[in-house]
């Protein structure tokens, strides 16, 4: 595998992914309940079509790219740091924790306290779960025990979320469970983009700080330490970075599972199985996958638009099962 992949230079991989990303972004802008030419809408931004493009579809596409990239990047860096191929924000319960934090803030009305409070709730929820996972990641050295802990964290977060929504006075709050569990980009506006953007960028910055540290870690902790890699700093950056970008994404769009699992796996051969190089390409790949899923939910004719997580889980869950079988085979 690596012999063939070495033939592909990194620049070529990036330009392919960039091309796909532009196409997916263009597709996300063109697809919707009403059909019109984008050129026409750009020419006349004050018309209805212009408003639909600029105020409804553009923020949606931008959020799709941001959240997708976040999930892909977080998945790649969690897999790299934990050296566990099944690690992913959704599977390990980080998204669930973020949703719980966001729900606490959103429905108590604390979200109106200051503009930043909703993403902050998501970030704190995510931070709590990531911290918990990394705390045990040393003791739970086996890949399977870590995943099982993630499953437990996920269930705990989900039941907390639904308990809280059921306790809400607003009778419609319960119906939002689907949103927090499955995620959606529908009818999000630029207000949402601006809310999520700073935290997402901060998280990306932390995760992409020093990609080569992950490569060194791939050689083992002692080797990495001997190469001068500060493991504690790397751990802190990974925890905070994941919490920031995943927390803010989930607070705005709900939790969308499996993007962070599928994308790093698909792209790993193209970057010669180097965890450091995987980060950047996984971010772009995640954005592409989420934009394509968001196009699909708008094309599938259902009376209510499908939630994004429905689609990503339909793709991701069989993939997950396949990986588990593969791991078993490798072990035996």
């Amino acid at each position: 595998m690596s012999a063939t992949s070495r033939k592909i230079p990194l620049a070529a991989v990036y330009s392919w992914l960039a091309g796909l990303l532009i196409a997916a972004f263009w597709g996300a802008l063109s697809v919707g309940p009403s059909t019109f030419s984008i050129a026409q809408a750009i020419r006349d931004p004050a018309s209805d079509l212009g408003l639909i493009l600029w105020d409804i579809r553009l923020p949606r596409a931008i959020l799709g790219a941001l959240v997708g990239a976040t999930l892909g990047l977080a998945g790649a860096s969690m897999q790299g740091f934990l050296r566990n191929p099944l690690a992913e924000p959704g599977v390990l319960g980080v998204s669930g924790g973020a949703a719980f934090g966001a729900v606490l803030v959103y429905y108590t009305g604390w979200g109106a306290l200051f503009w930043f409070s909703l993403p902050l709730g998501g970030i704190l929820g995510a931070l709590l779960t990531v911290f918990f996972l990394y705390l045990f990641s040393g003791k739970l050295s086996s890949a399977h025990t870590l995943i099982l802990t993630g499953v437990a964290v996920n269930v705990l977060a989900l039941s907390g979320t639904s308990l809280f929504l059921n306790l809400c006075k607003d009778p419609y709050a319960v119906l939002d469970i689907v949103f927090w569990q499955m995620g959606s980009l529908s009818d999000r506006s630029f207000e949402h983009v601006l809310l999520a953007l700073p935290c997402i960028f901060a998280g990306w910055g932390l995760l992409l700080w020093d990609p080569r540290a992950l490569d060194a870690l791939g050689l083992g902790e002692e080797t990495a330490a001997s190469l001068g890699i500060g493991l504690r700093a790397l751990r802190l950056r990974t925890i905070l970075g994941t919490a920031f970008c995943v927390g803010a994404s989930v607070a705005i769009c709900g939790s969308i599972a499996f993007v962070g699992l599928v994308i790093p796996h698909l792209l790993r051969p193209f970057v010669n199985y180097e965890p450091g190089k995987l980060l950047g390409v996984s971010a772009i790949g995640g954005a592409i996958l989420l934009l394509l899923s968001d196009i699909a939910v708008r094309l599938i004719p259902t009376s209510q638009e499908l939630k994004l997580g429905v689609l990503t889980s339909l793709i991701g869950a069989p993939f997950f099962i396949l990986l588990v079988f593969k791991m078993r085979k490798d072990l035996s």
Binding site: G32, D55, Y107, L175, W180, D187, E191, S303
Partner: protein
């Protein structure tokens, strides 16, 4: 042991029977018709309270009193209110149970097996349906006179509104959370028509409740946007679409009317008030 519990049960029901008997200040009307009426339907609560003396009501739903005016609420709150489980209904010892399409299935099957009289309420789709519902229920309760008075006053009140004759009609959308809109054959549609509005969702071919995307809403350019108060107040993700900045930008002249939700939950004479609010808001 078994015999003892049967005895206990009998004693309890007898006690309840006498207790109920003692409480009912029998009006003339009540000489015929059921005397221990239990309602498992929120909309039936409202009609029941207006059609019979409170003494004939054994229980209302736990939601009773949310819709009505102050006087009616007091009457409702004074009565036992239940959630509709089998045990609760049996303890109320009913001789007539009013139920609707959303009443607990298990309870209804149990009542049918026990041959306890059951009256099913429909979901009115227009004001004529309401008339029929009232007439049917009044007959069952032996309160035909009160029923006819209710119907007559509702008809009288409805005469004050333009209805569908006046042209050109203003174009309206009743927008609910998560892009739900009522189309033709819904009670919301009847209210809009009675207030002299064109329901754009119905014109678009939506029957019953359908969904209308934000993009379609902007392109239809409605004059009036109707929101139910509970949806408008609701701070949930599904209600966020009602406050999307694109609506404000694309439709700066849009008139937004908020209707009190309790007037919309049930098709009943109280819903005339919703027509009134809507007609006034649109004409001003």
């Amino acid at each position: 042991m078994k015999r003892r519990s049967v005895f206990l049960f009998l004693a309890l029901s007898l006690l309840l029977l006498f207790w109920g008997e003692g409480r009912t200040g029998l009006a003339n009307e009540a000489a015929r018709g059921p005397r221990r009426i239990v309602s498992l339907n929120y909309c039936a609560d409202e009609l029941l309270l207006q059609l019979v003396e409170p003494g004939r009501i054994a229980a209302l739903t736990w939601l009773a009193g949310d819709t009505l005016g102050e006087a009616m609420r007091e009457r409702a709150v004074a009565l036992p209110r239940i959630r509709g489980g089998i045990e609760e209904v049996m303890v109320s010892d009913p001789d007539l149970v009013l139920a609707g399409p959303f009443s607990p299935r298990g309870t209804l099957r149990f009542l049918q097996a026990r041959r306890i009289p059951l009256a099913m309420m429909g979901i009115p789709r227009d004001f004529e349906d309401i008339e029929n519902e009232i007439r049917k229920l009044a007959q069952r309760l032996g309160a035909e006179d009160r029923g006819e008075i209710m119907i007559a006053s509702m008809k009288e009140a409805l005469k004050n509104f333009p209805g569908s004759e006046e042209l050109p009609r203003k174009r309206a959308v009743f927008f609910q959370g998560q892009n739900y809109v009522p189309g033709a054959d819904t009670f919301e549609n009847a209210i809009m028509e009675a207030a002299g509005l064109e329901n754009l969702a119905a014109s678009r071919g939506i029957r019953g409740y359908g969904s209308l995307s934000l993009e379609a809403l902007i392109q239809m350019k409605p004059d009036v946007l109707i929101l139910a108060s509970d949806q408008e107040k609701s701070r949930t993700v599904r209600a966020e679409v009602l406050h999307h900045p694109a609506i404000r930008k694309a439709l700066p002249d849009l008139k937004t009317v908020v209707l009190p939700a309790p007037l919309l939950h049930c098709g009943s004479p109280a819903s005339v008030e919703a027509v009134c609010i809507l007609a006034q808001a649109v004409s001003s």
